[in-house]
């Protein structure tokens, strides 16, 4: 398994190089000019051109790419045009919010998605299953911005239990108590994803329940809960594990709407704002990191497969 993981990590290098080139080209092909955004509406084309020159953005594209790539290889993602700060520190500021949001969202998904999915499968065809499946459909269809705004109205404006928006770092005053700022956003983000997990757990368990080894277990006289947990649930987890992996990776990019509604200083909102501002170094840096994240999680999912299912061999 170690050799497999090493080979997969080495394969990241050419993929990342190709991704970096694509990202760089796409970002620079969008019309627009950071100098014009920076200077505002009253700037004349001459003033914009002068600042573009001063920022070195008038150099040929291939030179700009090579210069950027050279810095990236040394661990320097450049300097944000907008913030004037190193891209890594700008991303690190957003990463805390995004990672904690993703983790708390995953907690909601696991707490809600797995048990309800299991109950729905074990009570297949009953009213319990009908209610769980209907609820899952409802939450999968509700737009997150709508759900988020209603949660704010209920829990912040009317009841005053939770803050409406923002997120002070856990290293600021308040410490871990600041995680309460992420309760509503993580639930909002979890709702549609938990609904999908409910449906996936239910479907996988129903598939596994029909297999011969489950019939054998039942024939041996094992208790139904033991059959459900040891023989059905564990095997159903193989498909669910992959979904968890990709859901976690996707949360970073999917969180844009939730981060906007709850005004969270996360990576999703950062990348959207950076696109609007044409802050090239930040866009490139964030996308590159998301690519790495996807690839690492993909690898972890493959490793998890092998752990969950001994029949899967990693070569």
């Amino acid at each position: 398994m170690l050799g497999y993981a090493t080979r997969r990590l080495l394969a990241l290098i050419p993929t990342l190089l190709a991704a970096s080139l694509l990202v760089f080209l796409f970002v620079h092909l969008i019309p627009g000019d950071p100098a014009a955004v920076l200077l505002g509406d009253t700037a004349t084309p001459e003033e914009v051109e002068a600042l573009t020159r001063e920022m070195g953005l008038n150099a040929p594209l291939y030179l700009q790419y090579l210069y950027w790539l050279g810095n990236v290889l040394q661990g320097d993602l450049g300097t944000s045009i907008f913030f004037g700060a190193p891209v890594l520190s700008v991303i690190a500021d957003g990463a805390e919010t995004s990672i904690l949001l993703a983790v708390m969202t995953m907690v909601w998904i696991v707490i809600l998605g797995v048990p309800i999915g299991v109950v729905s499968a074990t009570r297949h065809g009953t009213w319990v299953d009908q209610v769980a499946s209907g609820g899952a459909m409802l939450f999968a269809s509700v737009p997150t911005f709508w759900l988020g705004l209603y949660l704010i109205l209920i829990f912040s404006v009317s009841l005053g239990w939770l803050p409406s928006s923002g997120y002070p770092s856990i290293s600021d005053d308040g410490g871990l108590a600041n995680l309460r700022y992420l309760l509503l956003p993580s639930f909002t983000l979890a709702a549609p994803n938990a609904a999908l997990i409910i449906r996936l757990v239910r479907a996988s368990m129903l598939d596994v329940q029909r297999e011969d080894h489950v019939r054998t277990a039942r024939a041996k006289g094992l208790a139904p809960w033991k059959v459900a947990t040891k023989h059905v649930f564990r095997n159903a987890l193989i498909a669910v594990a992959a979904a968890f992996g990709f859901t976690f990776a996707a949360l970073v990019s999917e969180a844009v709407v939730t981060e906007t509604v709850f005004s969270l200083p996360g990576i999703g909102r950062l990348v959207v704002q950076s696109i609007l501002r044409r802050d090239y170094p930040v866009i490139q840096g964030v996308i590159l990191i998301i690519v790495v994240l996807y690839m690492v999680i993909n690898l972890l999912v493959d490793l998890a497969y092998a752990w969950l299912d001994p029949r899967v061999s990693l070569k």
Binding site: I30, P31, G32, D33, A36, V37, L38, L39, G40, D41, T42, A43, T44, P45, E46, E47, V48, A50, L51, E54, M55, S80, F82, F83, G84, A85, V90, D93, G94, F145, L149, I152, L153, S156, V157, G160, P163, S164, S165, G166, P168, T260, V261, F262, S263, P265, G266, R269, L270, Q273, L276, R277, R278
Partner: protein
């Protein structure tokens, strides 16, 4: 029981400290902004959001009172010599920068020179400046090639204006905005921190020496009551409103018109309508395309449009807009109705015949608009419909704002584009007066009137000349004004000292919670 001397001393000090602290309301004012400013460097950036934050930190030689008249701020007095070609400004002697150094004429000269060379609005004044010199520790002399009437208004307008920084900060600064670690000004608040995507925070400057006199607009006494001002980006308007109602913010800006009636009637929220309206502008291309020098065709387009339905659709409540043809609002010294009878004729038949006389044969007219500002897009949709009814073939091109401002610099890419303009205290600051602004209105008639307008120092004569320029705008139509838009903000009812309207940008000195 008696207290020993050290304990008495400690208690006395604690009591004194507690009494001293009651001089301030303290706490942090939390302001929900629509986004983050590009930079707070006032020389080069003209974003209103940047100025809303920065004018608590940076000050200029002059500022505006409630009647939009320029008043001394860092300046103490001034005099004109040599028939108005020499300006001698005496500076206040009690001014300290946030880094603890005293402000002297060397700082003012360095700041003015950088603003003149690289500033967004500096070239307007500096195209006439021969020299700027320190003629004393607290005296600056500006020599002009010819008199320039609006010099004080330009200096008082801090947005894209001559904020005074220490000479050490501006010595090596070019066109690129100065970085946050060099945000050193003289204002009642100093720079605290800028956490990307989180907030910009200013903290009270305890050594601030306020200008004297009663507070009047931005002039007069400035007292920083809060410990800190925190400007938090909250891009979603629903969240800004809910956050204020939930008590998470004290002030929230740029609330849309469709929420106005409810919020205005809500006793738990204060609505503050901006006193200085912004106005939409549709620029016409004077450099290329079918509208180049074809003033008759431009007048045909102007004649086709009825501005009222677009304002109703795009803005909403009557209280938030005026179909006003004057470039400056009623009540302002620059208000004039010259040419404004052509502001909103909405006469499709006349427009059609005018277009025919102008030689228009149905060729496409490229109209660029951005969806970043909903009122731009909504207005453009109504105009496109009205123009189509008058026989114009409008090719509506919808972009994001960054793309639009890139494309408008290329004359062959557009014929019309939509933008808006903030309130300005002197018409010389309106973008159409700048020959290099996209649209490139540079006719000899404009040049002659503009020269007279800038050279005159007589207020009555300048007002008369502005009337002639406005009439010329309606005749040559380099741009079409779309009407006045009164944006509004909301505040917690706990805030006191806000006033009923903001002058241009909200300010939080002399405000309590």
């Amino acid at each position: 029981m008696t207290l020993n001397r050290p304990l008495k001393t400690i208690l006395a000090a604690a009591f004194a400290a507690s009494m001293a602290s009651t001089a301030y309301a303290g706490g942090t004012l939390r302001y929900a902004t629509v986004g983050e400013p590009p930079s707070l460097d006032q020389h080069v950036v003209t974003s209103d959001l940047a100025t809303t934050i920065a004018h608590h930190m940076f000050e200029g030689l002059y500022t505006f009172d409630a009647a939009n008249a320029p008043q001394p701020l860092l300046a103490e007095s001034d005099r004109l010599e040599n028939d108005g070609k020499t300006i001698v400004i005496t500076l206040r002697k009690d001014v300290t920068f946030h880094d603890g150094t005293d402000m002297t004429s060397a700082d003012v000269v360095a700041s003015l020179k950088r603003w003149g060379e690289h500033g967004s609005r500096g070239s307007l004044l500096f195209s006439n400046v021969e020299s700027v010199e320190a003629t004393g520790d607290h005296e600056v002399t500006i020599r002009l090639s010819k008199p320039f009437g609006p010099w004080k208004n330009l200096m008082a307008f801090i947005n894209g204006g001559p904020a005074i920084y220490p000479a050490s900060v501006v010595a090596d600064a070019g066109k690129a905005p100065i970085s946050p670690e060099n945000y050193i000004g003289t204002g009642p608040y100093k720079f605290g921190e800028w956490q990307a995507n989180r907030h910009v925070e200013l903290v009270r400057f305890d050594d601030y020496d306020s200008p004297s006199g009663a507070a009047d607009g931005y002039a007069g006494e400035r007292k920083a009551n809060f410990d800190a001002l925190r400007f938090i980006p909250v891009p979603d308007v629903g969240t800004r409103v809910s956050g204020l109602q939930a008590g998470d913010y004290d002030y929230a800006e740029s609330i849309p018109g469709d929420l106005f009636a409810d919020l205005d009637a809500n006793p738990q929220v204060t609505t503050i309508v901006n006193g200085g309206p912004l106005f939409g502008l549709v620029f016409m291309n004077s450099k290329d395309g079918p509208l180049k020098e074809n003033f008759a065709l431009r007048r045909a387009i102007q004649t086709a449009i009825d501005k009222v339905p677009a304002l109703q659709v795009a803005i909403g409540p009557d209280k938030l807009w005026r179909a006003n043809g004057s470039f400056l609002p009623k009540g302002n010294v620059w208000y004039t109705e010259a040419g404004a009878e052509n502001f909103s004729r909405g006469d499709a038949d006349t427009a059609r015949s005018l277009a025919k006389e102008a030689g228009y044969n149905g060729e496409p007219i490229k109209f660029m608009v951005s969806t970043n500002y909903p009122f731009h897009y909504d207005t453009a949709i109504v105009y496109t419909k009205q123009l189509a009814q008058a026989g114009f073939n409008i090719d509506l091109q919808v972009y994001d704002w960054a793309t639009l401002i890139k494309k408008r610099a290329e004359p062959d890419q557009w014929d019309l584009f939509f933008t808006h303009h903030g309130f300005v205290p002197d018409p010389i600051l309106i973008s159409v007066m700048n020959d290099n602004y996209p649209g490139w209105w540079t006719t000899p008639e404009k040049a002659a009137l503009k020269a007279k307008f800038t050279e005159s120092a007589d207020p009555a004569e300048r007002q008369k000349l502005w009337g002639e320029i406005q009439a010329l705008i309606y005749e040559q139509v380099p741009t079409m004004k779309t009407g006045d838009v009164y944006t509004y903000n909301i505040a917690s009812t706990k805030l006191t000292g806000l006033g009923e309207a903001t002058l241009i940008w909200p300010h939080f000195w002399n405000v309590d919670k």
